[in-house]
């Protein structure tokens, strides 16, 4: 049952979409009334807008993909949502069905005929509303489907593009819309406004007796955080400072560019995505940083490392590294001094960093340097299973049951390795694990690679 979001003028975001920050999973509180429709468009307008905006961002590559699907259905074999339900509607390419119709009608080589003779049915509003669940609740944009497709279609990227259409049509799920709007309005999806960030830095620096530079005019390295870490895993903020200071890096946080998550990307608002990305870029430029380090977050890496330059309109004037890559680089250059950790460890690959992002080996180099006994899951690295919480899914309450089903795959994977310590390098994966652990009363807790490193630094005696 989808109802319309109260208009922006009448809306008190804190009252209408209060945050829930005391559960294992940080999100908007479960809504009594779901507002899964935004804006005051008519149903027909919603459909038309969705279709047009989907193809607006199309280019040749996406068109080739749309022309290439042979309906083999093999993508379903790769998708964790299909795996745990065997429900054919979770077939990845099926999630794009209305948009395939849109492509053929609006943009394909025979578009004129498709429209003139109505060869592809016009998408209905009911269909789109149904598809909201498929595009948002049951897709983490993990990219396993893209890895499977015999035609080489990058289905995951097309899903992100489809979300552009959904956003313009005002068909984003309640919680995701709420946190995205909050992020645009306040600078953070979870209430970590610049003031809150600054306050937290002060408190953490004080509490841990550690120097955490903020708003330096000039720095070699700009560090960024995710709101999940700022609000839920503040130890990661401290860990960042510890590692930077240990390495003697000239670094800073900046209140004009600290939020690495990008809910514009996740919800499907391209304008917000650009705005959120530019904040980081401009902050780095402002302080003359040569390197920008992204925190332990998945989609943050995709948003800036791979999509950032397109937002900026030109190549970025600085290097972008995921924290795991930064640590691995310093391991390689023997700058990071680590105590050995005698534990059996298994690594959960964050999809956007690993399979989609290409930083597969970096975390493993770090784990090797930590001297752990690494026990790889099955499957692992590029083909590892998604935690089920990415792409915004973890924020959506109505998707919880489905997400928990998926989580069972991860639990089994980890248990099968017999490792003591599961480690990952993404705070969203981490909170998904926390939520799953609570739900299933599992006895295993997910850990952060960064925090593991920070906890095992060999500090020189002053």
């Amino acid at each position: 049952m989808t109802t319309q979001t109260p208009g922006a003028a009448e809306r008190d975001v804190n009252k209408d979409f209060p945050l829930e920050l005391d559960e294992p999973r940080f999100s908007v509180k479960e809504p009594k009334i779901r507002y899964d429709m935004q804006g005051d468009l008519t149903d027909e307008e919603r459909v038309a807008t969705a279709m047009r905006n989907f193809v607006k961002d199309f280019g040749r590559t996406a068109a080739v993909y749309m022309e290439s699907c042979i309906h083999c259905g093999m993508c379903a074999e790769a998708c964790h949502f299909h795996e745990v339900t065997k429900d054919p509607k979770y077939t990845p390419i099926w999630k794009l069905e209305p948009f395939k119709q849109a492509y053929k009608r609006e943009y394909g080589p025979f578009a004129l005929f498709f429209r003139a003779f109505n060869l592809k049915a016009k998408v209905t509003h009911e269909q789109l509303a149904e598809w909201q669940h498929l595009l948002y609740d049951s897709c983490t944009v993990c990219g396993r489907c893209s890895l499977m497709c015999p035609m080489g279609i990058d289905i995951a990227t097309l899903i992100s593009q489809a979300r552009h259409g959904m956003f313009h049509a005002g068909l984003v799920p309640h919680e995701l819309y709420a946190v995205a709007e909050r992020a645009k309005r306040e600078g953070s999806p979870l209430g970590a406004t610049p003031q809150v960030f600054e306050d937290r830095i002060d408190w953490l620096a004080d509490d841990h007796e550690i120097e955490i530079p903020l708003d330096k005019d000039k720095a070699e390295v700009l560090c960024t955080m995710s709101s999940i870490e700022i609000m839920k895993y503040p130890d990661s903020v401290v860990a960042t400072a510890k590692v930077m200071n240990h390495l003697g890096v000239d670094w800073t946080f900046r209140t004009d560019g600290y939020e690495a998550t990008n809910f514009g990307l996740l919800s499907g608002n391209a304008a917000w995505q650009k705005q959120m990305t530019l904040k980081l870029i401009e902050a780095a430029v402002a302080c003359g940083a040569k390197t920008l380090i992204l925190p332990e977050c998945g989609h943050a890496y995709m948003a800036l490392r791979w999509m950032g330059a397109a937002m900026y309109g030109k190549p970025l004037p600085f290097r972008v590294l995921h924290m795991a890559e930064f640590l691995a680089e310093n391991v390689r250059e023997k700058r990071l001094k680590l105590k050995p950790v005698h534990k059996t460890v298994t690594f959960h690959d964050p999809c956007q960093v690993s399979r989609r992002g290409g930083a597969i080996e970096a975390p493993r180099e770090v784990l090797k340097a930590l001297g752990v006994e690494l026990r790889e899951m099955t499957p692992t690295k590029g083909t590892n299973w998604c935690c089920g919480g990415g792409g915004g899914v973890v924020a959506i309450h109505r998707a919880d049951a489905l997400r928990h089903k998926v989580f069972q795959i991860k639990m089994k994977q980890i248990e099968d390795t017999g490792a003591e310590l599961p480690v990952t390098s993404c705070a969203n994966c981490r909170q998904t694990f926390d939520d799953g652990q609570a739900h299933f009363k599992w006895d295993t807790t997910m850990h952060s690679l960064l925090e593991l490193v920070a906890d095992n630094l060999i500090e020189d005696e002053a």
Partner: protein, 351 residues
């Protein structure tokens, strides 16, 4: 005056009963009749009153007559043929001019409704003057003669289908017998020319049973035209194995390999060449090293060339394909431009 029977005639020519029965056996087996039918064939032939046969030659080359009358010594075929009361035949008759026409008219009158009409050559329709006999157009003569006949035997591909005169551009408007005669049984004995024994076999069948034999979709006797050359060709194993002569004097040709690549039309040609063969079973074109040209089929002259393999269809030309390609590219570029414009419009609306 009673006309002597065929049996009388053969006896006067010194054919022994033994020889006669041997012939009937061979003929019967050619018609795929069981041995038990031989006495019936013998009886029928022996007592057959030599029927009146009127042979009308139209736009023909006389090749059919030549083929049939090609006698290697005194063969039974040629004798039987001569034994039929051939009341009108330009090549073989003694009479000429008015006398010949009189003979024809009398035979028609005396045997009205009973005579066998044999036709070779196609009938011109574009202009009556293209073909006349004694001032009468072929078309008129055929119509008149057909009126009183018991059946028509269209001998040769020209009479059966229109043949060579009908080939592109068909300047005389040549048509086949069946295009003109609609109300009489017609037996098409196609071939360019037909095999001699096929003609006599058909006549034999008619004389024995008094009926037109079983015909295929093109009106040809199934006994001789029921199978294609390909299925009876002795070189078929080479086709199956993929061994083909590529030119007329290469190793494959010398080894007697299949001639499909050199244009043999055997697979779609129905005739008895591969079994009955020519010149008393001596050989046939494929055996002599040349592909079948399909001469017993309609419009064989206008199908793709004699040396073009059967499967090379008329796909057009490089030019037509280039035109299609050009059109495709143009349409593609146009549709891409349209798509891009729609994108720009949406973007403009939004900004």
């Amino acid at each position: 005056m009673s006309t002597p029977t065929l049996g009388d005639y053969l006896r006067t020519r010194g054919v022994s009963r033994r020889e006669f029965l041997k012939f009937c056996t061979t003929a019967a087996s050619l018609m795929a009749l069981p041995p038990s039918m031989v006495p019936r064939v013998a009886e029928a032939l022996e007592n057959a009153r030599r029927p009146s046969v009127i042979w009308l030659p139209f736009q023909e080359c006389t090749g059919c007559t030549e083929s049939i009358t090609r006698a290697h010594g005194a063969t039974i075929e040629s004798m039987i043929f001569e034994a039929i009361s051939l009341d009108y035949q330009h090549t073989l008759q003694a009479a000429a001019g008015d006398a010949a026409e009189h003979a024809r008219e009398k035979a028609m009158k005396d045997n009205w409704g009973k005579y066998l009409l044999v036709v070779d050559g196609s009938i011109p329709t574009a202009n009556a003057g293209y073909g006349t006999i004694a001032g009468v157009s072929h078309l008129d003569m055929l119509k008149e003669a057909a009126d009183g006949c018991a059946a028509v035997v269209a001998v040769g591909s020209c009479a059966a289908f229109g043949g060579i005169p009908q080939a592109n551009p068909n300047p005389t408007g040549a048509v086949s017998v069946s295009d003109v005669v609609k109300d009489k049984p017609i037996i098409n004995i196609s071939g360019c020319p037909p095999i001699p024994v096929v003609i006599t076999g058909v006549l034999m069948q008619y004389l024995t049973f008094g009926q037109v034999p079983e015909l295929d979709a093109l009106g040809r006797p199934k006994a001789f035209f029921g199978q294609n050359i390909h299925d009876r060709c002795y070189r078929r194993p080479f086709y199956e194995r993929g061994q083909f002569a590529e030119s007329f004097d290469d190793e494959g040709a010398r080894q007697g390999w299949c001639l499909f690549k050199l244009g043999c039309k055997g697979p779609v040609t129905y005739n008895a060449c591969a079994t009955a063969k020519w010149n008393n079973g001596t050989s046939f074109p494929i055996e002599a090293g040349h592909g079948c040209i399909g001469c017993s089929e309609p419009r064989f002259w206008d199908k793709n060339g004699f040396y073009q393999p059967l499967s090379t269809g008329n796909w057009g030309s490089g030019k037509t394909l280039a035109a299609a390609a050009g059109a495709g590219v143009a349409l593609g570029a146009a549709s891409a431009a349209l798509g891009r414009k729609r994108q720009k419009d949406v973007e403009a609306k939004q900004s």
